[in-house]
């Protein structure tokens, strides 16, 4: 899988649900509209909850790839 374009990466490797989504929410404003955030986590719920958060918050879920160390990374684009 080709790596996605990420402007800000959040290290949530040691966090479990719902903390990765909370980190994402807290750091959304750290990027400009149109930029992307990658949430790096092995939390099993993130694959469902990051896209679900995007639908609730009307942000764009770009997709899933992996960070440099192979940990899953969930990428979100700030729309507003």
């Amino acid at each position: 899988m080709s790596p996605l374009d990420v402007d800000l990466e959040l290290d949530c490797r040691e966090l479990r649900c719902p903390m990765p989504v909370i980190e994402l929410a807290k750091h959304l404003a750290d990027v400009d509209v149109g930029q992307t955030i990658g949430v790096v986590t092995s939390d099993v719920a993130a694959g469902s909850d990051v896209p679900a958060w995007c639908r609730m918050r009307e942000q764009e879920y770009v997709g899933e790839d992996v960070a440099d160390d192979g940990v899953p990374r969930f990428v979100v684009r700030r729309l507003a």
């Binding site: 649900c17 719902p18 099993v44 679900a52």
Partner: protein, 379 residues
Amino acid sequence: MSNASAEPGPDARSELDSASSESLHPAAREALLAALDQGYADPRRLHRAGRTARLLLDNARAVVAECLDVRPDEVSFTGSGTEAVHRGLLGLLRGSRRGSTVVHSAVEHAAVRHAAAWGGEVSEVGCDELGRVRAGDLVEGADAPGAAVVALQSANHEVGTIQSVGELELPNDVPLFTDACASMGRLPLPGGWAAAAGSAHKWGGPAGVGVLLVRKGARWRNPFPHDDRIDERVAGFENVPGALAAAAALQAVVAERDTVNARQHALVDRVRSAVAQIPDAQVVGDPVDRLPHVVTFSFLYVDGEALVHALDRLGFGVASGSACAASTLEPSAVLAAMRVLTHGNVRLSLTRDTSDAEIDRLVAQLPGVVSDLRSEVGL
């Protein structure tokens, strides 16, 4: 012990997890105690005690058949709902002349999903955001080469959404297996299945009793070793007292369901609208076409395990589909398939005597519980 009729006090408890297991119905208790003494013998034997056990077992079968509007010879008693699922689904698979693929929905109970993966190839079909399985995709899966069986639940066990079991138009040689565990007794059994399963402790019967239904004429073959018992579809010594108690509970639940369902449906409506007022809450499942007693919701940024414990401390026993609250440590496959939040999740399932006062107390306390948990993580 819960006692819904007790005056609310500091120790008052509301057990709101009947979809996992409902307490024994009084009618079942009476039947069970009587049958423990009278139905202990081997129902295959010709002596008096054996004939009595056989009579009780036949009676239980006849009552269940009448309650479910099926023939008595279509009813088998198993050791659990899971065993009924295994035998029902895998028996249709074994009887198939067409292939070895089980086409099932992504929101089936784990018992169905595990049985399908164990028995054959799997073709999984998705659902919409309310948890309604896409019937067209099931039919398309059934039309594909190698499809042997389609499995579709009567209603979803986690979110309560009722599925369109009776309306599926499958090819003639692809039978339908219906896991009816979530709805049996509470709602009339839908039609269209070749085999179906139920679980007695979910309607107030005893644990350790399942109901397997196999339609007369269905191509069903025993997937497990044969046993020389009364009923060729099952194995092992018959649990006569359990079967009789399950039948007595089913009869009572069917007789009471018009009243109980209406009350539960209205109470769930109240919960749904109250929870929807809490910020960043998702109330999931079909709001109308649903089980009367089940409601599921999730709170953004809340830890499901912490939520279950907080509610327990306040006297509410609830289930959760969140990964951290699950024995598997996996998020609910149902919630994931519906593409809704899996964290901060609660499933309430009302009992036959859940009162207005209990629901008042719950909806009064929930907003505070949620905001406390959110403030703990700095939100």
